[in-house]
């Protein structure tokens, strides 16, 4: 924990985005995480994503639970309201915020403990409701904040710092999300900004629940030999399945680099476009069943496929399902909500 004030020296890149804001304007307070923690790299990617998108800071709401990962919303976009809530409850609290104000751009940051153990139920139901938000799991296979116990995402055979092997089957957030009908599912690695930034931007542009599982090594408790969530292991087993390119609305479209496999384009709700190419012939991220079985096979071999693994646009989000008005409920004037004394008088004839 450090109490050193963040230096106010101007950022090397004083470049401005469409709103005239610099990258610095999307930063938050100084991180108090361990030096080298994967979570800090994700924070940096989030900062860059919002900056590149040119999102107005005050329209963002940053939600989290409890854990090292859940502290990070303090470290980005200080001009946005943040809610560091209770362990495992972020998805529920974010769902409430979404219900009250559909105009907020909700980003939730959680850990594998926060999401896959104590908060698993809320995560599942937020997916079912298709709450309009981006949900990032900073996945390190352990409970960092309580000093390194295995989490539910720990792979079978992965070793703890003391050398004990995990024997219980992991919960894979990607497969889980696919099973529950999630409409945007991605996976990435904290160390791969080039992949993560477009993925986060696409997730923010997605209408409905977007989930990104980001492998984010815990340098203090889970970065040793024998761990399947270490930097080394992850780098070795990463497989960028669908390198993506995020093209914001109204910007000139330039063709992304072509690798093997076909080029695909998905137009997002806000008019932006996500382009990606499948490295593997036949991998179709718009086909849930084939994606699930492909991913399952790769994962059985110990590989970590990354990229935009599944996307489906056009499925109604929570507010569309509820058929709520287009405006934020929180800002409706009282006059629009109160039926008045005459209506009460009339209603009570039925209570005679």
């Amino acid at each position: 924990m450090s109490y050193i004030k963040k230096p106010v020296a101007s950022h090397p890149s004083a470049q401005k985005n469409a709103l005239g804001l610099t990258l610095r304007d999307y930063e938050g307070s100084m991180s108090t995480l361990c030096a080298g923690c994967g979570h800090d790299s994700i924070t940096a990617s989030i900062v860059r994503s919002f900056w590149e998108l040119g999102t107005e800071p005050h329209t963002i709401a940053k939600m989290s639970g409890i854990g090292c990962s859940s502290k990070t919303p303090a470290y980005f976009v200080s001009g946005a309201h943040g809610f560091n809530s209770a362990h495992g409850r972020m998805a529920a609290i974010a769902s409430g915020a979404a219900a009250a104000n559909r105009e907020l751009r909700l980003i939730g940051v959680s850990g594998d403990g926060d999401s896959l153990s104590i908060g698993l139920g809320h995560l599942c139901h937020a997916i079912r409701r298709n709450v309009n938000m981006l949900y990032i799991i900073e996945n390190n296979g352990v409970y960092g904040l309580t000093k390194g116990q295995f989490s539910a995402s720990a792979d079978v055979g992965t070793k703890s710092k003391k050398g004990e092997a995990n024997v219980m089957a992991p919960i894979d957030p990607v497969q889980l999300a696919l099973t529950l009908g999630a409409t945007f599912v991605g996976r990435s690695f904290s160390g791969d900004k080039a992949e993560l930034v477009p993925l986060i931007k696409a997730g923010l542009a997605h209408e409905g629940f977007a989930i990104i599982d980001v492998i984010s090594p815990c340098v203090t408790f889970n970065d040793h030999e024998g761990s399947t969530k270490s930097y080394m292991y992850t780098r070795k087993h990463l497989e960028a399945l669908t390198p993506i390119d995020f093209v914001p609305e109204a910007s000139e479209i330039t063709a992304p680099e072509r690798a093997s496999g076909g080029l695909m384009e998905v137009t997002m709700h806000d008019g932006s476009t996500v382009r990606f190419r499948s490295v593997h012939e036949g991998y179709d991220p718009t086909n849930r069943i084939s994606a699930m079985s492909y991913l399952y096979e790769r994962q059985q071999k110990g590989e970590v496929p990354t990229g935009l693994l599944y996307v489906e646009t056009g499925r109604p989000q929570m507010h569309t399902i509820m058929n709520s008005i287009d405006k934020a409920l929180a800002t409706l004037p009282f006059e629009a909500l109160n039926p008045g004394s005459a209506a009460l008088e009339k209603l009570q004839r039925a209570y005679r």
Binding site: H58, S85, A86, C124, N338, Y351
Partner: protein, 615 residues
């Protein structure tokens, strides 16, 4: 087809006769759950209400969908004493499985109406009551087709019998059936037929009316018949609540059902058909309160409705709401605990749980409505208090208030009402002000300014349940932590003058006080009248909120003995009064009833009388 052999209807010895009582008696109906009896019993209650007579109906039902015994009690009292009473002058015994206990409950000289299609077991006969056998099953078999219709109509036939026996106004009954089935003529006709069958049978075979008589009065002109859950829901609509989140649990479910129905009616945009509200059935109560916090934090008037088990689950986040200072309105429709307890029985046993919900030092505002009328008015009050003090507010009703129909004064609404949003800074205020500090107590009131997300970057702050200082920044510094905790105490205490004051009624020559809360109101008031008749004069106080306004302590100190009447085993209100006022424990005497049934005046009066006389 004949189902039975006729039996002798006259007991060996002549039973005593009840004195004539007009508009002052109680009767009970014993049925099996799931047979459609509830709507028939409601019909009787409503007919009496429309006759202008003070009346109450208590549905004593099992936690079961079909088959288990269920009872309905109706009390009429011309003087307005309509708390539950256990003096039944008549029993409609429609459930052979409970004959034994039902027969026992009727007072000497009373009546037992039963289905004489089958002989009434001799072993269960008492010779001090009158048996009125009506061949209900046989009549339905002869007059209606299909098993379901026969079962349903049996209930309506006994309504007809009672109409004749108790001298109900048939014009009222018939008009109600016409209204109820105005769109279903076939059903309307069979209902009329069933009523008439029962009515005619009674007229032909018994001396009608009995000495128990209903006579039209004029007491209900300005009253309605409504349950507390419906009234609470209506209160939420009028308060301007836009988000309701819940997880189904008896006895609170009706609240969200009613909120849904009212919102569909009043909150659907006329042009687009879109909804100006959001109702979410959460995955559990942890999520329900979580969503309340999220939505409240984002600026919507939001509530959840639940019962004791739900409150237990919500504890952690209630502490977060308290400490991070987020408004939250929670309706707790109490049932019998601990654990699953008796889900369909009533109790007041969540008082302490709500007052101190969550770990750490926490205290919450709690309101205790006594009837559906107060449920309605306490709803906007709860939202106002939650917004003003930025904290959870509980509305503690119970199964009896929530699920039973009550005759209460018509609900009124003041169109000049505007919600108290508390200290929420507008965009202009934020922009015009200095650096925003979420928990800075600028004017010493204990209440600090809040900003909402989505308004302006200058108002942004990081809400957290971890230690924070007045700027809202993380802290582990003892003084900074304590400064916030001290302020929270001051803030809580300052709510004393904003919550509903107690209702106090003094009597000349009173020698002691009787204190109660919530749904005990009617029984306690009646008990005071009974006691006065025995020359025990008592002052009355009904506590309506925690933190306790100063009047509460003053009342307790004015009496050497205060009987605290409540419906739980441990005297939770007594405990709260002891801990949260300076009153000496010696002045408080617990009067506890917690069997799960609504309180009766006799029980209260007898207890206190015995205690007075032993002094």
């Amino acid at each position: 087809m004949t189902l039975s052999v006729a039996e002798s209807a006259t007991p060996a010895k002549a039973a005593p006769l009840l004195p004539l009582s007009v508009n002052d008696f109680a009767f009970k109906l014993a049925n099996a759950n799931g047979t459609g009896s509830a709507s028939a019993n409601g019909l009787i209650m409503q007919a009496i209400f429309r006759m202008g007579i003070p009346v109450s109906g208590k549905n004593l039902f099992p936690s079961n969908i079909q088959g288990l015994p269920t009872w309905y009690e109706i009390r009429v009292n011309k003087d307005g004493h309509t708390a539950r009473t256990i003096e039944y002058s008549l029993m409609v015994a429609m459930n052979a499985e409970t004959y034994a206990r039902d027969v026992k409950e009727v007072r000497s000289g009373g009546y037992i109406v039963h289905d004489s299609t089958w002989p009434f077991p001799n072993a269960l006969r008492r010779d001090d009551v009158h048996y009125l056998g009506v061949p209900y099953a046989q009549m339905c078999l002869d007059n209606f087709a299909g098993a379901r219709e026969r079962t349903l109509m049996k209930n309506i036939v006994y309504v007809g019998t009672l109409a004749a026996l108790l001298d109900m106004d048939m014009a009222v009954v018939n008009a109600m059936l016409d209204e109820k089935f105005s769109k279903k003529p076939t059903l309307r006709d069979s209902n009329h037929k069933a009523i008439k069958l029962g009515y005619d049978y009674a007229k032909a075979n018994f001396e009608c009316p009995l000495p128990l008589r209903l006579q039209t009065m004029d007491k209900n002109k300005d009253s309605i018949l409504i349950d507390g859950n419906t009234a609470s829901a209506l209160g939420c609509v009028y308060a301007g609540a836009t988000v309701g989140v819940w997880y189904p649990i008896t006895p609170s479910t009706g609240l969200m059902d009613a909120f849904t129905a009212f919102c569909e009616k009043y909150r659907t945009d006329a042009e687009t058909g879109k909804k100006k509200y959001a109702i979410i059935q959460a995955e559990d109560e942890l999520a329900a309160i979580g969503m309340v916090l999220g939505a409240s934090w984002a600026g919507a008037r939001t509530f959840t409705n639940t019962s004791g088990p739900g409150i237990s689950l919500m504890n952690e986040l209630l502490g977060l709401a308290y400490y991070a200072e987020i408004p939250a309105v929670v309706f707790d429709v109490q049932r019998v605990g601990p654990s699953t307890g008796m889900p369909t029985r009533t109790q007041q046993s969540d008082v302490l749980e709500c007052a101190y919900a969550s770990h750490g030092d926490t205290k919450h505002i709690v309101l205790f409505p006594a009837n559906p009328n107060e449920c309605f008015h306490f709803a906007p009050k709860a939202f106002d208090l939650a917004a003003r003090f930025q904290t959870p507010v509980f509305v503690l009703s119970d199964l009896d208030i929530g699920m039973n129909d009550w005759v209460v004064p018509k609900l009124t609404w003041d169109d000049t009402y505007r919600p108290d949003q508390g200290r929420v800074l507008t965009k202009e205020q934020i922009e015009a002000g200095g650096k925003f500090m979420r928990y800075s107590d600028d004017d010493g009131t204990g209440v600090t300014s809040r900003t909402l997300p989505g308004v302006t970057a200058k108002g942004a702050f990081f809400t957290r349940g971890s230690g924070h200082n007045s700027k809202g920044v993380y802290t582990e510094v003892p003084d900074e932590y304590q400064e916030i905790m001290e302020r929270l105490t001051r803030k809580h205490n300052s709510a004393k003058t904003a919550v509903p004051a107690p209702i106090v009624e003094k009597r000349q020559d009173a020698t002691f006080g009787i204190v109660t809360m919530g749904g005990c109101d009617l029984a306690v008031r009646e008990a005071i009248a009974i006691l006065a008749g025995k020359r025990h004069q008592a002052d009355f106080m009904r506590v309506r909120a925690f933190p306790f306004p100063d009047e509460v302590e003053a009342f307790l100190n004015e009496h050497d003995v205060n009987y605290i009447v409540e419906q739980n085993r441990d005297g939770q209100l007594t405990t709260l009064l002891t801990v949260e006022t300076g009153v000496s424990k010696d002045r408080l005497k617990k009067v506890l009833f917690y069997s799960g049934f609504p309180l009766s005046a006799a029980a209260v009066a007898n207890f206190i009388m015995a205690d007075r006389e032993a002094m």
